[in-house]
């Protein structure tokens, strides 16, 4: 076997990583970029929350949530609580009966399968933040 240059080894590693990622990703079927939030939901007797990026980005640019509302771009990094939401923070900034339907519709947000962990899901995954 020829001696590889560092650059080639790195390239190979990058190329090899991808089929592995794709294969891993074949196990999930959920829509790309759906976020599961289950830090406290199940512990407190409700289903995990499913937040769909695809649905919201049709209506809002990223900057609305990730600048204006200050959601940090890392799943699990924002201490989202039901109390905060009812106070008009996080999801509650919009789900207030004006911009979108109100927090009374528990099952529309708490719609996840029991047992799922907080993270980002979907077709093609990386080793990225959502998987830490």
């Amino acid at each position: 076997m020829p001696v590889c240059k560092i650059r080639h080894i790195r390239l190979l590693a990058a190329v090899l990583a991808v089929p592995i990622l794709v294969i891993v990703s074949l196990q999930t079927q959920a829509e790309y970029a759906d976020v599961v939030l289950n830090r406290n939901s199940e512990k407190e007797g409700v289903r995990p929350v499913v937040y769909p990026h695809w649905f919201h980005r049709i209506r809002f640019q990223c900057r609305v949530c990730h600048t204006e509302l200050g959601f940090e771009m890392r799943v699990g990094a924002n201490k989202v609580t039901m109390e905060g939401i009812i106070d008009g923070k996080f999801c509650g900034a919009c789900h207030d009966g004006e911009t979108a339907w109100t927090v009374e519709n528990c099952d529309l947000c708490h719609s996840g399968l029991p047992g799922m962990e907080t993270g980002i899901t979907g077709g093609h995954k990386t080793l990225g933040p959502g998987n830490w």
Binding site: P19, R63, E68
Partner: protein
């Protein structure tokens, strides 16, 4: 499959495999799952019927082969969607239309980063100065860091088109003329 590749260890072989697996994966993802069957939503939730299935909305937009299978840049540009820039209607946003060529790509085509499609969705502060310095060449971006979810990988591979789409970033041929800014 993975084992065979690691013993032969040829670049050509792994690229072939990559192409094959990518093809296979797009075939598997030709259609959107319904929420009932996506393995994420609880099919016993009576409110599920009020939620929209992705295919009902995404199927009407310019299609793509990966991620949400929507070409979001075109969907926005061609007016299929009009995502707001602020919770309450429209706010003044800063746009930038410059391109940065990143040359440290080994034998692969160079990377062209376009500010324009990014600043339509994002604020400067979403990237500067935490993820990227505002100076061409000042950020030590590498592919392995991207695959770990840093730099471009903060969004690409999570929400924006996935990292399997090498040629969308690696879009400037090595021997071609760089159209740097």
């Amino acid at each position: 499959m993975i084992r065979i590749v690691s013993t032969t260890s040829t670049l050509a072989g792994s690229i072939l495999l990559l192409a094959f697996v990518c093809l296979a994966s797009t075939a598997v993802y030709a259609e959107w799952q319904t929420l009932k069957e996506d393995g994420l939503h609880d099919p016993l939730n009576p409110a599920l019927q009020w939620l929209q299935n992705p295919g009902d909305a995404l199927g009407r937009m310019p299609s793509d082969s990966a991620g949400n299978k929507v070409d979001w840049v075109r969907a926005f540009e061609d007016g299929y969607i009009r995502p707001r820039s602020s919770i309450h209607g429209e706010a003044e946003v800063k746009q930038l239309d410059t391109e940065i060529i990143m040359n440290d790509t080994g034998s692969l085509p160079r990377v062209m980063f376009p500010h324009k499609p990014h600043t339509r969705w994002l604020d400067c502060e979403n990237c500067h100065e935490q993820i990227f310095k505002s100076k061409a060449g000042a950020t030590p971006v590498t592919m392995s860091k991207i695959l770990e979810g840093e730099y471009c990988g903060v969004c690409h591979g999570a929400v924006s088109f996935p990292l399997t789409e090498c040629n969308r970033c690696h879009s400037v041929p090595l021997n071609g003329t760089a159209k740097s800014q």
